[in-house]
Symmetry: C2
Subunit: 348 residues, 2 copies
Amino acid sequence: MLADDGRGRDFLDAVRPGRFLFSLVMSYTETCRIPGITIAGASPDTMQFTPPADAEYLHYGHCKVIDQIPMTPDGKPTPGLLTRTALESAGIPHLAINAGGKIVPQLPFVETGLQPGRDITTEDAMTRDQLTRAVDYGMILGRRLASLADCLVIGESIPAGTTTALAVLRALGFEARVSSSIPENPVDLKNKTAGAALERLDSEKPGDVVATVGDPMIPLVAGMLCSASEVSRVVLAGGTQMAAVLAFASSMGFRKENAAVVTTAYVADDPTANFGELVQSVADIPAVAVDPGLEKSRHAGLRAFAEGFAKEGVGAGGSIMSYMLRTGNGPKEFRDAAEKEYLRLTLR
Amino acid sequence: MLADDGRGRDFLDAVRPGRFLFSLVMSYTETCRIPGITIAGASPDTMQFTPPADAEYLHYGHCKVIDQIPMTPDGKPTPGLLTRTALESAGIPHLAINAGGKIVPQLPFVETGLQPGRDITTEDAMTRDQLTRAVDYGMILGRRLASLADCLVIGESIPAGTTTALAVLRALGFEARVSSSIPENPVDLKNKTAGAALERLDSEKPGDVVATVGDPMIPLVAGMLCSASEVSRVVLAGGTQMAAVLAFASSMGFRKENAAVVTTAYVADDPTANFGELVQSVADIPAVAVDPGLEKSRHAGLRAFAEGFAKEGVGAGGSIMSYMLRTGNGPKEFRDAAEKEYLRLTLR
């Protein structure tokens, strides 16, 4: 694991002996229907199934709302494969939270009553009432979950979430170059989309920014971070999307000494993005990169993660960190476990 | 606290040092619309708001779906007052689970997608698919929540739940005389209602019994008990309703050495019911009665609990047990805390 500095290592040492709890925030933004913006789903119409399908796969090992686990159009698996491998291998409890998903998963989940996010190029992502609810409910959830664990790890599943994150970060004045689930990162399309959204924005207030050009995941997770960091340590498990969460949470205030962002080395090392710098500029907390070791896998479907497909998502990086801390295992053991899971899936 | 025997005391000693987690299962049965069968709500049309209002009151200290906390038609407060006093005073984390409620609470809660229970005098309480889902989701939830606590306390809020419990217990061959939220326990009406439901029943299989004459709370909590008792200790916090849960759970199997039923002395001492004997006949696990000490309260609204109004509900007994174990306090200190809460509410 590569902590950016001594502070990052201190954070990892502090959470190592404690109880981990992983939470997956399922969400949705109509922005994902813009052609070419994401491959988090086999087609525009199946995108909406990806978050609940990810949650079901983490829980059951297979999906219920769709037949197979979420795939890219050319059949590469969801990063949830890495998350499931990590959580199952290390026996880490987890739960799913619905923050504006269009489809609910077929398992018990935490409901917030939030509406799906709207297409930020054409209308506001959410009403102010929805924003308030997302922050309030996030704070309630963060407090509750933090009382049940020493380290709350928060991941997300929201197709096109990097684009809404980009818009929020830019509107709040950060030089963001976002990562993507696509190796040929459609930077131009994301910039154009974020730019169109920003044209509709007439306020620099963080709440206005998130309500106008964000998505429901951002204020919910920001609320969770604010309250949970008062009690426990919190890992934001993700890349640029979690930077947007951090930016909004910073405007409300949270305990920085109890928080870190953890992602995969594939995001941290992405030359089209600027993950480490971005986190540093947004909030002065540790940014940790975890190496899942998949570039050496025997399976092309797993090497694809290292090659830039779905480099992060479903809290993969934070889950692998939790796995490594709990088990003492490294990238080699993780790769072995991920290969077993990959084989199990391909034999179905 | 009055444990029935040494085994009950052993159970209390075993859970004392651990982490408690309280869960409130909100549910609904159309059976509550039969006039006179329950006072868990100010009128038949407000009954459906009682479970979510109880959950909101536990969380916020006030309700959102209705203006005031749930009351009987003549203004006596919900037993949730005792639950809230206990959980807040002892700092015990809690969460709400929706198992077929008609109205959802305005806070984050665990959703199961179950339908409201139907009037057992006229139709089956639920389909077999719903029964299966309730048990399956209950088992998932029990496993998840047990991994987060050493002692999982499960309470319920379902108007007319004692009547569906009565029908289930009788159908499964137990001599049940149920307690009630009404001091002049409408025994005849409950017996008549259960009798009418039992006439429609043509099977003695526990699953058929619960689907035909039960309610959604019973199979969900039974599933929770079955899985959670494999990992942690489980307290069924309630009276005769939890006896019905026990009866159904016994048909599926659970770890008896990890389970107990805990209720208030007001239920345990109710001469119209037979709580202790009933639990013994249903499953050989400890039955513990907790004395909230309210007969000496300065406030008539609190003395009413001791006088037979809403003697139990919202997991009051199990919450007070958890409070006493966590804090080392007894009935006197609990009464003081409940009086403060009562004053806070009446000053609003």
